[in-house]
C-alpha cells in the first residue's frame, strides 16, 4: 500500500474546489494510495477565518463537516497529530534551514516555513511520501521523499 502526506496547499486547493486538485486527489485514492494530512494543515486552512465577514461559526462547522466526510470516504486516511518527536524533528530541520539558507523577507514566510517543517517532520516520522506543489521548499531535506502534486491551478475567471 502506497502512503503519502499531502501538504497544506494541496488540501486548500481540494477544499476550494479547484478542478486540478480534486482530479489529482481522487486519482491517488482510486490508484490505491492512502492519503494522510497533518493537524498543521488543518490549522493552516483556518487562516483567514478571523477576517470573514459572514458567520465564522457556520464556516467552521461546514469545514469540519467536509473533513469528516473526507475521512468517512477514505479520502483522508488519518489526520496525523503533532507529537513531541515531530516537534523536536521540526526544530532540528528549521535549525538546519537557518544555517544554510536565508528566508525571504516576505511577510509570513517564516511562519509558513515553521508549518512546512512540522509537515516535513511528520512525513519523516511516519515514512510517508510528501506531496507538494512547492518542491523547492522541501527538496533540501535529504531524508525526505518528496513528490510533486502535479496538477495545474486555473483561475476560471468566475465573476461572483
Amino acid at each position: 500500500m502506497r502512503k503519502g502526506l499531502v501538504d497544506s496547499m494541496v488540501l486548500m486547493h481540494y477544499d476550494n474546489a479547484h478542478e486540478g486538485a480534486v482530479e489529482w486527489w481522487e486519482g491517488k485514492v482510486e490508484d490505491g494510495w492512502k492519503v494522510y494530512i497533518s493537524e498543521v494543515s488543518l490549522m493552516e486552512r483556518l487562516k483567514g477565518v478571523a477576517g470573514l465577514s459572514g458567520s465564522r461559526e457556520a464556516y467552521l462547522k461546514a469545514f469540519r463537516f467536509r473533513i469528516q466526510q473526507m475521512k468517512k470516504e477514505r479520502k483522508i486516511c488519518r489526520i496525523l497529530p503533532v507529537t513531541r518527536d515531530i516537534c523536536r524533528k521540526a526544530r532540528l530541520l528549521l535549525e538546519q534551514y537557518c544555517k544554510n539558507f536565508t528566508p525571504s523577507p516576505k511577510r509570513g514566510r517564516m511562519e509558513a516555513l515553521i508549518c512546512d517543517m512540522f509537515i516535513a517532520a511528520t512525513a519523516l516520522k511516519y515514512d510517508l511520501i510528501l506531496f507538494t506543489q512547492n518542491l523547492k521548499d522541501f527538496e533540501w531535506i535529504d531524508a525526505l521523499n518528496v513528490e510533486e502534486a502535479d496538477y495545474e491551478i486555473q483561475e476560471e475567471g468566475e465573476a461572483p
Partner: protein, 115 residues
C-alpha cells in the same frame, strides 16, 4: 408549502444555499454547473438519479465521479427543500451555491503570499 404558493425570502434562499455549499466536498464547479442545468430541465429527482449513475460511470475521470458522488449525497439530503421551489427560485439558490463555492477561495487566503 407547494410550488408558487409561498415564496421563499432572499435570506431564506441564501441560507439554504449556504447549507448546501458547506457540505460540498471535492466538487468541481463545472460539474456542479452541468448538474444544475440538468436539474432545472428535468427536476431534482431525476437529476439526483442522474448523479447516482454518473458517480459510478467508468467513462468519467476520478474528479467528476467524486463531484457526482457528492452531489447525489448532498442534494439527496436537501431534495425536499428544493422540490418546493419554483424554477426561478431554484435557479437563484443554485446561483448562490456557485457563488459561495468560489467565495471559499478568497475567504481562506489560500494563496500564501510567500509562494
Amino acid at each position: 408549502m407547494s410550488k408558487g404558493e409561498l415564496l421563499m425570502t432572499t435570506d431564506e434562499k441564501v441560507e439554504l444555499a449556504q447549507r448546501i455549499e458547506g457540505q460540498l466536498t471535492g466538487i468541481i464547479p463545472s460539474e456542479w454547473n452541468k448538474w444544475c442545468a440538468y436539474a432545472r430541465r428535468f427536476g431534482i429527482k431525476k437529476a439526483i438519479q442522474f448523479a447516482q449513475i454518473m458517480q459510478n460511470s467508468p467513462s468519467l475521470r476520478p474528479g467528476p465521479k467524486q463531484s457526482y458522488r457528492t452531489i447525489s449525497q448532498v442534494m439527496g439530503r436537501f431534495r425536499k427543500d428544493l422540490e418546493k421551489l419554483s424554477q426561478d427560485e431554484l435557479a437563484e439558490v443554485f446561483g448562490y451555491v456557485r457563488r459561495f463555492l468560489f467565495a471559499r477561495r478568497g475567504e481562506t487566503h489560500e494563496e500564501r503570499t510567500r509562494r
